[in-house]
């Protein structure tokens, strides 16, 4: 009997999985290390997700998240203004916000996406390695600057009275003595936003392409040259195809984040005169929530935005997995 059990133990120890208790005991140090992080995530990442319930409640400062009464979809009905049918919807808060967010996102993608690729390809063609390094180092200086600094620079340079841009325009006679007030012109808002975004992030976004280009086999270029390709042709037939997978991945990731627009910058740049094109979900939530303290309504708008953003990310990722076999998860 005793002999049998001994043999049993010696054979089972190697194959038997540890029990839960044993594993917990073995990992107690790791559990202890992870504990602060877990507490952090529960309170500051999942707590706010729980706080989203106030989108369906009539939140009062004294009743709190838990004690406030449920009101169902009232905030959403108000947001889409659908209780009055189509005429109401046409004048809802939702419509201009949706249009502005989508357009700003689409234009940013359309203009902002090609620049880093073009820059990386041209940078790759620079022969002097010291000069190449200098250009690249310079190119991502702006991404070290804060949004506030970039916006201050913009406002100063575009100032109608003494900004550099207006000085130039006055010198060549395109505008009169009073200058042109770019910041209050709705038709200029998107251009200013996107151009400054390209200025700030082109070098930073190009890093990934520059890294991909550095990995291209130099023999391919030599082969192309022997086959009679000039510089432009080898850029087209060698350089571009070799970074195409990276480009595709980045494009899908960018598309997934289409409506996640840096609203901090919009807050700094927009003015009541430009609200008609500049007001997006993020800025609306900020104004309604932080300034007007209409917490429930602004949370409902925020929840709508994050849900749409989530659907967009999942869709783009699914497409990505099908097409390029790369996905975020």
């Amino acid at each position: 009997m005793a002999k049998a059990s001994k043999a049993d133990v010696s054979t089972t120890v190697t194959v038997r999985k540890r029990t839960l208790g044993e594993r917990l005991k073995k990992d107690w140090q790791l559990i202890l290390l992870a504990l602060p992080g877990v507490v952090f995530y529960i309170i500051f990442r999942y707590g706010p997700m729980y706080g989203l319930t106030i989108a369906f409640k009539d939140y009062g400062i004294y009743t709190g998240i838990l004690g406030s009464p449920w009101i169902g979809f009232k905030n959403f009905v108000e947001f889409f203004n659908i209780q009055n049918g189509w005429t109401g919807f046409a004048s809802s808060d939702f419509l201009p916000l949706f249009r502005n967010t989508l357009l700003l996102g689409l234009y940013s993608l359309f203009w902002g996406f090609p620049f880093p690729i073009l820059f990386a390809i041209l940078l790759n063609e620079v022969k002097n390695s010291k000069f190449k390094k200098l250009v690249q180092t310079t190119s991502f200086l702006p991404s070290f600057l804060s949004v506030v600094v970039v916006c201050s620079m913009l406002v100063d340079m575009l100032s109608p009275s003494n900004g550099a841009i207006n000085s130039l325009l006055k010198a060549i006679g395109l505008v009169g003595e009073d200058g042109y007030y770019f910041m209050i012109k709705p038709e200029w808002f998107r251009t200013i936003y996107i151009a400054s975004d390209i200025w700030q992030n082109c070098g930073y976004n190009a890093i990934i392409y520059v890294a991909a280009l550095a990995g291209v086999d130099q023999q391919l270029y030599e082969a192309a040259k022997i086959d009679g390709c000039g510089r432009i042709k080898s850029m087209w037939y060698v350089t571009l195809p070799s970074i195409l997978p990276t480009v595709a991945t980045m494009f899908i990731m960018r598309s997934g984040n289409l409506i996640k627009i840096g609203y901090e910058k919009v807050i700094l740049l927009y003015q009541p005169a430009t609200y008609s094109v500049a007001d997006i979900f993020g800025t609306f939530v900020y104004r309604k929530g932080i300034i007007d303290m209409d917490y429930s309504y602004s949370t409902a708008v925020g929840l709508f935005e994050s849900t749409v953003a989530l659907i967009l990310v999942i869709t783009c990722n699914t497409i990505s997995r099908k097409l390029t076999e790369t996905s975020l998860w």
Partner: protein, 308 residues
């Protein structure tokens, strides 16, 4: 020796500069100019006198009014920088920024390392569920208002800790570090376990030193994030004496005339110079360190962003 020379010679012939190269170099010089000009412009404005700025003649060089020449000529005026030092608001904000950044970066690094390490251990019992918990937050979050209400209900508003604690871990940086830890050879870990080292000891004496490049990269992201953040401090902080530099700058930008005028004595002094001098001192630390830190910057992006 001669072999080397021989192989080099034809190459240099092949690499002869063509028209394309010249155009490309010009384009790259243009990129440098466009990138640097706005920063240079800030410096020029900050070093110019008010008359010159108001007349709109400051474009490429700092300008000031010269008594001897009787007109505006290129020259330096340190008026604005003197003003920065003599108004307590700006040095105080600067000190606040340094404090928030220093404390913030240290706390964020500690928390991130401590959490990334267990997540990187393949046999860790809670690895899977915790990774799911962490990853979800990259795609969905409570957003501005619910986070504000949580921070407010914990009594963290209007304090330094209210800025730091709710942002101790950034999921993106956590995953960069976790991936790096996973790349460290498993044999090292096993050998240390066999030798009877505790997990804490393995983490601090083996993993952290080996992950220095990755830690440097995320530290840089943390420094930039803290130094440059403006919206969260402007929402969470209510007393003006706790404002960091970026919030003070935002005030100057937003309510240009009103807010700047209350820290100016003479009406003749233009806010532009003061504002630009403040911008310049706020970006100076970044300008000084970034050429040295940029390799970590590149590494952090290229190592962490694309996971094979």
């Amino acid at each position: 020796m001669s072999g080397l020379v021989k192989t080099r010679k034809p190459k240099s012939k092949l690499d002869r500069y063509t028209l394309f190269d010249y155009i490309n170099v010009v384009l790259m010089l243009l990129v440098i100019f466009i990138t640097l000009y706005p920063v240079w412009y800030v410096l020029c404005i900050s070093l110019s006198s008010s008359e010159a700025i108001n007349q709109g003649v400051v474009n490429f060089l700092p300008m000031k009014f010269s008594e001897t020449a009787g007109k505006i000529v290129p020259g330096f005026s340190f008026e604005a920088y003197g003003k920065i030092l003599s108004t307590p608001k700006i040095p105080r904000a600067y000190w606040n920024t340094i404090r928030y950044t220093g404390v913030g970066v240290v706390c964020e690094l500690l928390m991130t390392i401590m959490f990334a390490y267990p997540l990187s251990r393949k046999t860790f019992i809670f690895r899977k569920p915790l990774m799911v918990m962490v990853t979800i937050t990259m795609f969905f979050s409570g957003g501005l208002i619910p986070t504000y209400l949580i921070v407010s209900s914990l009594g963290l508003l209007d304090s330094m800790w209210g800025l730091i604690i709710p942002n101790l871990i950034w999921t993106f940086d956590l995953i960069i570090l976790k991936n790096f830890f996973e790349g460290i050879p498993h044999e090292l870990y096993e050998a240390a376990i066999v030798d009877g080292a505790s997990e804490f000891r393995i983490m601090t004496t083996i993993f952290v030193p080996l992950a220095k490049p990755s830690i440097a990269a995320i530290a840089l992201f943390f420094i930039m994030g803290n130094w440059n953040s403006f919206l969260i401090p402007s929402i969470y902080l209510t007393s003006a004496d706790k404002y960091p530099l970026q919030v003070v700058l935002r005030d100057m930008l937003m309510n240009d005339t009103t807010k700047v005028s209350d820290i100016m004595d003479d009406a003749k002094f233009t806010p532009e110079a003061l504002k630009n001098a403040t911008i310049f001192v706020s970006i100076l630390p970044m300008l000084v360190v970034y050429p040295w830190l940029q390799k970590f910057f590149i590494k952090g992006l290229t190592v962490g962003a694309v996971k094979g």
